[in-house]
């Protein structure tokens, strides 16, 4: 658990982070979202002390981070940044091995870990281990950057706009991969982004920052349905709120018995997918199939529309 208590940062009289307190439970994926200059990146960088707080403190599992030498603290915390920051003179394998080597793991253990991570990120170890970063595509570089951050199996991973440099298609895949890997490893992730879509799509909890202050820290559902301030509402985009709400609701609880014609949606789809499918094909209900293709029932257009309304 990470407890951030009354954290502030002043740069020459200017307050960039103003009295922020929040608690991040173990295994959560927390997204800090805000416009540029909101202080979100500074807040993130104070967690691994790349920026030293002016006041307040951070406890990780009850331990005050200021009592640990900064470089040792950082070796326990994964850190992935926009544009990956891979060391250009080191091979993919050497890049991933950075923190294990700093921690003086023995060579066999490092090599096994590098291959394990490459496989986890769907990069064939034999093919990629000895390449240089300049020989990889943007998506591959990004994956190696995250693999490096996870190399020493940190309990906490910090990510600063990790998908910012990727094109939309690769970004969607990278977000999906991150979600799966996070569920598998149980790593706590704090991710900074300016993209509310990304925040809602990825976050278990979302922290909205504006002008150095934490405006709201809540689940995506709460943020969408009950934005704390006008600014949070603006970030969400008022015209898209019903659709964002639908995208947060899986179809499964809304499946009703009955038949429907036409193309089916999967049981893992959201109500937004169901709505889109129904509207686009002009149907009032769409069938839902499980992974094997077996019919489970249907979701009606009326249900989707009802669920799109703001909860009272």
């Amino acid at each position: 658990m990470i407890e951030i208590e009354h954290l502030s940062k002043l740069f020459d009289e200017t307050c960039v982070v103003d009295d922020v307190s929040m608690t991040i439970p173990d295994g959560a994926l927390v997204v800090i979202v805000g416009t540029s200059g909101s202080g979100k990146t500074t807040l993130l960088r104070m967690i691994n002390r790349l920026v030293e707080p002016s006041s307040g403190r951070i406890l990780i599992d009850g331990r005050d981070t200021s009592t640990i030498p900064a470089h040792e603290l950082r070796r326990q915390i994964g850190y992935a940044i926009q544009g990956h920051g891979l060391f250009p003179h080191r091979t993919v394998g050497q890049n991933i091995a950075t923190v294990p080597n700093l921690l003086r793991w023995d060579a066999d253990r490092v090599k096994a870990r590098v291959d394990e991570l490459l496989a986890l990120f769907q990069l064939d170890p034999a093919e990629f281990r000895d390449r240089y970063p300049s020989q990889l595509s943007g998506g591959q570089q990004q994956r190696v950057g995250v693999a490096r951050a996870l190399a020493a199996a940190p309990k906490l991973l910090l990510m600063d706009e990790p998908f910012g440099a990727l094109d939309p298609i690769i970004r969607a895949r990278a977000q999906e991969d991150l979600r799966q890997i996070q569920r598998r490893l149980g790593t706590t992730i704090v991710l900074v982004t300016h993209d509310m879509n990304e925040a809602i799509h990825l976050g278990d909890r979302i922290a909205v920052m504006d002008r150095a202050k934490l405006l709201q820290y809540d689940t995506p559902q709460e943020i969408v349905t009950r934005p704390a301030t006008d600014f949070v509402g603006e970030l969400l985009g008022t015209g898209e709120r019903p659709f964002r709400l639908l995208s947060l609701q899986p179809v499964r609880p809304f499946i009703e018995p009955g038949e429907a014609t036409g193309a089916a949606i999967g049981e893992g789809a959201s109500l937004r997918d169901a709505l889109e499918e129904a509207l686009w094909s002009g149907r009032t209900a769409v069938p839902v199939h499980d992974i094997a293709g077996k019919p489970l029932g249907r979701v009606t257009l009326a249900t989707a529309i009802r669920q799109a309304a703001r909860p009272q």
Binding site: N48, L50, H71, E72, L73, R74, R75, Q76, Y79, I81, Q82, G83, H84, G85, L86, F87, P88, H89, R90, T98, V99, L102, Y132, S134, Q135, L136, S137, G145, R148
Partner: protein
């Protein structure tokens, strides 16, 4: 690649044979002499002069590298940043003084011989190494710095594992330029009695013996080319990660 290695080895072999047995090349230089002058310089062995020449250049370049790289590292650390303008000025002054002037000024203090030559070459060679080391260290991108800090490297580890390896090709280019300049400049050391290949050239000029001048100049030229291509190959080796980018 293979071809250039062969040419380099051939040039080196030819130079070796010439230095070991200059008398075999008598016929080549004889047409440059007049009135039955000697075609090959024999006051001192050409091999010894060459080795001395190389030793002086190597010592000056090595000392220059240590000082210039050390200075560049110092002024790129947060604590030493304020010394950057001063170091730049000093390195520039070193380059502004013509080596001949340094020799003239140094002889009264250091006496005749190798010492003033070493000093002149050292001062003259500082600037290219210093400026290249600065450029190399400055070329490390902010993302890479950030990543190095973020992975938990200490300041020393960042310098040794990230900054210097990334700056190395540029630093080596500076050392190469400095060594090549010194290779030619060292010849004037013979005006203050340093034992270099300049001795042959000066003897030729004094006695109007073109054969001596040609010998000295050719050996210096061949050395410069061999050293240049060899150091260049080392540079290429250390920057191989930049190759075949997509």
């Amino acid at each position: 690649m293979k071809m250039s290695v062969l040419i380099r080895l051939a040039a080196l072999a030819l130079l070796g044979v010439f230095l070991a047995r200059p008398d075999w090349f008598d016929w080549l230089f004889a047409p440059l002499t007049r009135n039955g002058q000697a075609a090959i310089y024999t006051q001192n062995s050409l091999l010894n002069l060459t080795l001395n020449h190389l030793a002086i250049v190597a010592a000056a370049t090595l000392a220059g590298s240590v000082v210039a790289i050390g200075l560049a590292i110092l002024v790129t650390r947060p604590a030493g940043r304020e010394f950057l303008p001063l170091s730049r000025t000093l390195a520039n002054v070193g380059q502004t003084f013509p080596p001949v002037a340094v020799l003239a000024l140094a002889v009264p203090v250091l006496g005749f011989g190798t010492a003033p030559t070493l000093l002149a070459l050292f001062l003259y060679g500082l600037l290219p190494i210093f400026e290249n080391a600065l450029a190399g260290l400055a070329s490390v991108s902010p993302e890479v710095h950030e990543a190095a800090r973020g992975t938990g490297m200490t300041d020393g580890q960042r310098l040794l594992r990230v900054e210097l390896p990334l700056a190395l090709p540029t630093i080596l280019a500076g050392i190469r330029i400095s060594a090549i300049i010194s290779m030619g400049t060292a010849t004037i050391g013979s005006t203050v009695a340093a034992s270099t290949l300049g001795e042959t050239i000066m003897a030729g000029l004094i006695n109007t013996n073109l054969a001596f001048v040609a010998q000295g100049a050719l050996v210096v030229g061949a050395l410069a080319i061999i050293v240049n291509t060899s150091l260049f190959a080392i540079e290429r080796h250390f920057s191989r990660y930049r190759q075949d980018q997509r």
